[in-house]
């Protein structure tokens, strides 16, 4: 982290960048939040640790409009989103000084709490320089430990890899965290009977409060104005009064980002209700991979996305019924 801060100071000092986009410590030991730093002085609040899960690439849409360059800290998975945003002309590559930051997996405080660790006062072992094996947690009930792995976000268990797709320089080490297949959960649902599927999504989606956190955080959901907020479809936002609403919302949301979603997992991370929203996106990704050839959004900045492309012998929609 010190290395990052030092580098940030240098870049600010020599005028390469006008500001730094990173994270600052929150009020709790586990809730750092995205922040801009414009002076060397302000960098004292800068943090980068296992709880810095937020994908900062979306902030670059606004930062691209500002005077001067912004140094932005991007984790390996965030760089896919950044590339995708370049492809869609939403960010300006020339306005970004990308520091690819190392990643040893990001932590999910809910998972730690679920292990009965309550009353957290401080957490050791989540620094980027740590070996990411064990977390030592001081609580009001005494010291507890937790395997780093067990506290990790779901998305880190199915990590796309720790290689930055785009960067100006890389700071910090990474550690491979993938130990599961990202489509396993999708496969499990696919194998259910229709009633079970329906019940599963009904129960998950009934938790939705239409707070729009998923939409606001998603780097692909970057429309100036969402269709659900405009009158273009007579579908503008309504209160959450019936079950259809969320289904429509979440299907369309996933459809609008299909072929553009990099599977960064931010939607699920920020959902206050803990709805596994990534299961929608991953279903589309899995279908696209299987039907149209493997495609990873954000791997490059110029290829055609699967929904703006076709081949003459694509599968017919009836394949949905045929493959059962």
């Amino acid at each position: 982290m010190q290395e990052l801060i030092n580098r940030a100071k240098e870049l600010l000092a020599d005028g390469t960048v006008a500001r730094v986009l990173g994270w600052k410590a929150g009020d709790l030991p586990y809730n750092p939040e995205p922040a801009y730093f414009e002076t060397e002085e302000s960098l004292k609040d800068f943090v980068y640790n296992g709880f810095c899960g937020a994908n900062l690439s979306k902030y670059m849409i606004e930062a691209s409009k500002l005077e001067g360059k912004t140094m932005v800290c991007l984790k390996p998975c965030d760089t896919y989103s950044f590339n995708q945003l370049i492809k869609e002309h939403r960010v300006d590559r020339d306005k970004a000084y990308i520091v690819g930051v190392g990643c040893k997996g990001k932590l999910d405080i809910e998972k730690i709490k679920k292990q009965g660790i309550k009353g957290i006062q401080s957490i050791q072992g989540a620094e980027i320089t740590d070996d990411a094996e064990t977390l030592t947690i001081q609580t009001i009930y005494g010291e507890k430990t937790c395997a780093y792995k067990d506290g990790m976000l779901e998305r880190c268990h199915v990590c796309k890899g720790k290689e930055h797709q785009i960067y100006d320089e890389i700071i910090g080490e990474s550690k491979d965290t993938k130990d599961a297949d990202r489509f396993d959960e999708v496969r499990r649902i696919e194998a259910m009977r229709p009633e079970e599927k329906f019940a599963f999504f009904q129960s998950e989606l009934s938790k939705c409060i239409r707070c729009n956190a998923c939409r606001n955080v998603c780097p692909a959901c970057s429309c100036r104005k969402c269709v659900f907020d405009s009158n273009k479809f007579d579908s503008s936002q309504k209160a959450n009064v019936d079950s259809f609403e969320e289904k429509m919302f979440h299907i369309i949301r996933a459809f609008h980002v299909a072929g553009r979603c990099t599977d960064c997992g931010e939607c699920s991370r920020v959902c206050p209700q803990g709805i596994p929203l990534h299961l929608f996106n991953r279903k589309f990704i899995k279908d696209i991979d299987e039907l149209y050839g493997e495609y990873q959004a954000g791997e490059d900045t110029d290829s055609k996305g699967p929904l703006t492309n076709f081949t003459f012998d694509d599968a017919e929609p009836s394949i949905v019924t045929e493959r059962g």
Binding site: P194, F200, F244, M248, L291, P317
Partner: protein, 147 residues
């Protein structure tokens, strides 16, 4: 399904037809007097690629029991490529509906040319039959829209 129940349930079926092939196919079915149930109502669109998944969800929301989209055969699109995009969009949408537990068969895509009046009528008969067998759409309906 019993006969009484069949009499009670009259499905609402929306058919999106592209102007150049399928709508003309439906016209030909009409001029050839090839009947299909009156439950099917056709909406004319310029091309199958004009059909937004939101239209389909909207139909279900408002109480449709089945939605079918018809377009020119792949390779014959009036706009050259429209139905290729539509094909991908619909495949993914239908797969998602299946995934969240909506009964398979409430949605369908069929390519019908302007010469295929017979195919249009057979397709609609089959589709209506299927929707009868599935019964009322409850999983995707907006309860506020029920009269």
């Amino acid at each position: 399904m019993s006969i009484e129940a069949k009499e009670e349930f009259r499905p609402k079926i929306v058919a999106f037809c592209c102007n150049w092939c399928s709508y003309a196919g439906a016209d030909l079915a009409g001029s050839s007097r090839l009947s299909y149930p009156a439950d099917v109502k056709i909406i004319r669109v310029p091309c199958s690629c004009r059909v937004n998944p939101m239209f389909i969800l909207r139909a279900f929301e408002k109480g449709a029991d089945g939605v079918i989209m018809c377009g020119c055969h792949p390779g014959d699109c009036h706009y050259s490529t429209g139905n290729y995009y539509a094909r991908r969009r619909m495949t993914l949408l239908f797969s998602m509906l299946d995934y969240i537990g909506v009964e398979n068969g409430r949605t369908r895509v069929e390519w019908v040319s302007a010469a295929e009046g017979v195919k249009f009528s057979t397709t609609m008969n089959e589709f209506v039959e299927k929707i009868y067998s599935l019964g009322k759409n409850v999983r995707l309906e907006d309860i506020r829209c029920r009269n």
